[in-house]
Symmetry: C2
Subunit: 241 residues, 2 copies
């Protein structure tokens, strides 16, 4: 009760009242160290340079939050699926923390009005909201500790994540292709290629998949994983047609 | 005081007294749920099958402990290096949790007498001790919670890890090669190849590195990373000779 009564009164005098008002419905508690949350929503395209030259954006908090999120989800899955092996747990976690999944989650939670970024950059950066979500996890952890962060993430999962549906999804085409090869006793060769030079800020990846020396799939992308997934998808479509 | 007096008395009647005696000097506390630690030291080569058919080994605990260790080290580095960016933090963590590093750490701590495995398998599995170390982190977390695990890991780091020395080591040949290419405005191509079939339990990776269409490095290994590191090292030796 003490906290519930005193905190809102203090907020009337807070410079960060607007941010706190936006955060409260998301967090379910009134943050103490509001500056941390402020930083969590600063995308590097809108980095702030302090008088002493220090550049501030959400990347350090994202590093921390990413690790805390992974740990909490590992614990969550460990307890929820006591009968499943670590292969299943690893797969489930990777589906839950996938950038695409986190972006959508952060968008639903209402991050669009919170993240500060240069709109032109933001348009290109599809991971903007997912990254800010992780940075916010880092802020909660520093502000309130591990237990509170755990409860926050658990609440978000229960509200927004359909675990049973995620269990069914198998969008990992590479794993499925490898399983196919093992079952059919065929050898599949993955060939990846990436060029690195000073001009290319975002290296371009290419993946070719060969079966008996003939190409059955090919994919390109901004990451090795993306190129491999596309090439594996094409291969599976050909093999299972 | 209550805990200090009562627990050792209880242990006199414990079936796990021997394990607890070995664990106490490592943990610095007397574990409550000893069975968890017992599981943490069972390598999959010595899996135990329970009457209900459940197979027990340390792999699930390793999944959990790996994530908790990553989170604690992220927090530790975040606080210890307030001025460094997330690139530095990521690199430092990857050096600290590298299997080779964890294996050595676990060996020094005295894991050799704790891990139960089939010696022939153990000989092949170089990650035996590092994996058991992570599984033990998972056991501590379940037994004592996050704060206690944090303190345990912090104590291990302070006692066994030379952070300043780790900062100096730059064994990431691939990053160094990419930095070289960017500085010299040259394009480097990484070509990786891996074959997957039912016969090969441990796929064999090959990496070729090209500069102006000529091969400057080549490496093989049991992981893509190992093959890339070897090929990058060879390339750097050629380029910087």
């Amino acid at each position: 009760m003490f906290r519930l009564i005193i905190r809102p009164v203090l907020l009337l005098f807070s410079k960060n009242k607007e941010l706190v008002n936006k955060l409260y419905p998301i967090l379910g508690f009134i943050p103490s160290r509001v500056a941390l949350y402020e930083i969590a929503f600063i995308h590097k395209s809108s980095s702030v340079t302090l008088p002493d030259g220090e550049v501030v954006n959400n990347e350090r908090l994202e590093f921390l939050g990413d690790a805390i999120l992974d740990a909490v989800i590992a614990d969550y899955l460990f307890r929820r699926f006591p009968e499943n092996d670590e292969g299943f747990l690893t797969k489930m976690r990777s589906k839950m923390v996938k950038r695409k999944h986190l972006n959508l989650l952060a968008y639903h939670i209402g991050f669009k009005q919170l993240v500060i970024s240069q709109s032109s950059v933001a348009k290109d950066s599809k991971h903007l909201y997912g990254n800010a979500f992780e940075a916010m996890i880092g802020a909660i952890y520093l502000d309130r500790g591990y237990q509170c962060t755990y409860k926050f993430i658990e609440r978000i999962i229960d509200k927004y994540v359909n675990i049973e549906k995620l269990k069914q999804i198998d969008s990992d085409y590479k794993s499925r292709l490898i399983e196919w090869a093992q079952k059919e006793k065929q050898e599949i060769i993955f060939e990846s290629k990436v060029g690195v030079n000073s001009q290319i800020k975002h290296p371009h990846f290419v993946c070719h998949i060969l079966l008996s020396n003939a190409e059955i799939g090919r994919g390109t992308g901004n990451s090795k994983k993306e190129a491999e997934q596309k090439a594996s998808k094409m291969s599976l479509e050909k093999l299972l047609a």
